[in-house]
């Protein structure tokens, strides 16, 4: 379970999050919607531990552990996964090597045995098949020369292998055509279960047709201003974010 209490954070002394309260129980998927500049990406970076974001108050506890005190790699080992809005290109780093290194680092931190190259390839190929992705995804350099859709699919592929307990999807739907959107959504839905929870950050209702959330929250000016069921997303789609601040 993720419990965020009164979380405030700033970038270069500019306060972006101003007291976020949010609880995501195990097994649930919550959507966070909101206008540009509301702090959606900041929330995802603060939770994953990116440098340059200063937590000025409040707490974020995942499975009883204060995650704000942890390094990004320790958060990953604790089961947190951030699907990037703009996945980073790593020229010279093979995708298979990258993902195997990540998987083994996480397994090591969790006290699980590491996978050798053969066992990894077997597992990776099986996941690729489930996600309808070609095997050559493994041979290419990480995200180099990938289309926008391929990059997002590569994020979901990593997520499927790392088996996080909490996935944060930062505008994973941006730049996706309808087929890619379906593959990505299927990837997330495949992980659904009593031990998996997700924060789905999105501008649009469209993604939530495929990944149906248990709760929808509206983030505006650094705070959660409204929460509701899936129907809230439909309402926002119809009427926009105007007026949400006051609600």
């Amino acid at each position: 379970m993720l419990e965020i209490k009164n979380l405030s954070a700033a970038i270069a002394d500019k306060e972006i999050l101003r007291g976020v309260d949010l609880t995501v129980p195990d097994g649930e998927i919550h959507a966070i919607m909101g206008p540009n500049g509301a702090g959606k990406s900041t929330l995802s970076y603060v939770l994953s531990g990116r440098e340059g974001y200063e937590v000025t108050g409040g707490s974020a506890v995942y499975n009883g552990q204060d995650i704000l005190a942890l390094t990004p790699e320790a958060r990953a080992a604790a089961g947190i996964f951030l699907a990037f809005q703009y996945p980073v290109e790593l020229p010279g780093v093979g995708n298979a090597n990258f993902i195997r290194t990540a998987l083994n680092a996480v397994r090591r931190a969790r006290g699980e045995p590491e996978l050798d190259a053969v066992a990894f390839l077997k597992l990776a190929r099986a996941e690729l098949k489930k996600l309808s992705m070609p095997d050559d995804m493994l041979k290419r350099n990480v995200n180099v020369g990938f289309s926008g859709g391929e990059k997002k699919r590569n994020e979901v592929f990593q997520m499927a292998l790392l088996q996080p307990g909490l996935a944060i999807l930062d505008e994973t739907d941006s730049g996706l055509d309808i087929d890619a959107l379906k593959i990505v959504s299927d990837g997330v839905n495949a992980l659904r279960g009593p031990k998996f929870s997700a924060l789905v950050i999105t501008h649009y209702q469209r993604l939530l047709d495929h990944i149906v959330p248990d709760r929808v929250h509206v983030l505006s000016a650094g705070r959660i201003v409204r929460s509701g069921g899936p129907e809230l997303a439909l309402e926002l789609e119809a009427h926009g974010y105007a007026g949400q601040e006051a609600a």
């Binding site: 531990g49 080992a77 010279g92 780093v93 680092a105």
Partner: protein
């Protein structure tokens, strides 16, 4: 003795040899040689510049050393010619694939500073092949000043892999000259890790049509090390190709130097020349000096060069860490990725493993 070059010479503008000039060298004393690398290959071992019968398991085609006159005006090659007492003379006959050979130089300047000036000659006949893996190492204060003269006849292929892992108080100044005939290929990669001050100066001459060369290197330096990679590639015949990818990773107060000149003669039409020099600075006190030069007299050529200096990208580090990879390992992965293009000519599995291990060890020792 011929004087050491000063920085007033353009070719030595960035590399100051005054610290070397201040040392008085003595005759080498007998040394105890530590365990040397063994790749399971025929092995030629030099100790303090002299061939060691007991430590070598010589390959075929190894000949007796014979002094030759130095025809150039290169100061270090002249000094070498004056001082040389020994060296490898390896001559592979036409059509023979001589496999891989390991050449180790071990020097010890622990008791007294010593200077070694080995003179090596590698000749490959028509269609001959050889992989030469060189390791230079040692301890204490010493000056290793090898000259390697390489002659490749038509269609010969020499893969030349050099691991410069000299002791931290050493001076390593190597002159390598390759004459490459038609269709022949000189494929080289140097990994520079050691020495207080080092320079590898390559002169590659593409003499016949469709001759080619790779002159690649990676320099990994820290502390107050200086590593200088200087190359002069002469395209004297048409349809030749030269490719240079030189990467430097500089930490602490280290300095890297790259001087690369491509000379394209009037006759060398359809030349394809490529030169890329990139440096990664891991510290604000590190420095890289880059001097590319193109001198082109032919009118139908493709020559490109590029140079970049940068730091590790924090976005890339965060991406790796967010996937559970510890920060130190993330940096190491990105450094190896940065170096990977330079290692492309290393197709020999043992040599590649040796270099990869050396790079990992370098990172682990920081």
């Amino acid at each position: 003795m011929t004087a050491l070059p000063s920085r007033k010479l353009e070719a030595w503008r960035y590399t100051d040899l005054r610290a070397l000039a201040a040392i008085s060298f003595a005759e080498p004393a007998p040394v105890t040689v530590p365990a040397l690398p063994d790749l399971g290959l025929p092995k030629i071992v030099f100790v303090n510049g002299m061939y060691s019968v007991s430590l070598s398991t010589p390959p075929e085609f190894l000949q007796k050393f014979a002094q030759v006159a130095e025809a150039s005006d290169l100061p270090l090659a002249l000094i070498n010619a004056e001082q040389a007492r020994d060296g490898v003379t390896l001559s592979v006959p036409d059509g023979v694939d001589a496999g891989a050979v390991l050449l180790i130089s071990y020097a010890s300047g622990i008791k007294n500073p010593v200077a070694l000036h080995p003179r090596h000659r590698i000749t490959l006949g028509r269609d001959a092949k050889l992989t030469l893996i060189e390791i230079a190492m040692g301890e204490g204060i010493y000056w290793h000043n090898p000259v390697v003269d390489i002659a490749l006849h038509d269609s010969a292929v020499l893969a030349h892999y050099r691991l410069q892992n000299e002791g931290e108080e050493a001076f390593h100044l190597a002159t390598l000259r390759a004459k490459i005939a038609a269709n022949a290929a000189y494929e080289s990669f140097s990994l520079v890790l050691g020495a207080k001050l080092s320079r590898a100066e390559f002169h590659a001459t593409l003499m016949g049509p469709k001759a080619s060369t790779h002159l690649n290197a990676a320099q990994l330096l820290r502390g107050h090390q200086l590593g200088d990679f200087t190359s002069i590639v002469a395209h004297d015949a048409p349809d030749c190709g030269s490719r240079q990818t030189v990467k430097s990773v500089l930490d602490g107060h280290a300095r890297g130097v790259f001087q690369g000149r491509i000379e394209v003669a009037r006759a060398a039409q359809k030349t394809d020349g490529y030169q890329m020099n990139q440096a990664l600075l891991l510290s604000p006190d590190a420095e890289m000096d880059i001097k590319p030069e193109l001198e082109i007299f032919a009118d139908d050529v493709k020559c490109s060069h590029g140079a970049t200096i940068g730091a590790l990208d924090p976005e890339q580090i965060f991406y790796l860490r967010s996937r559970g990879i510890p920060e130190d390992q993330a940096r190491s992965m990105l450094i190896r990725a940065f170096l990977s293009e330079a290692l492309e000519p290393v197709t020999h599995a043992l040599a590649r493993e040796m270099f990869e291990t050396a790079i990992e060890t370098w990172w682990a020792q920081k």
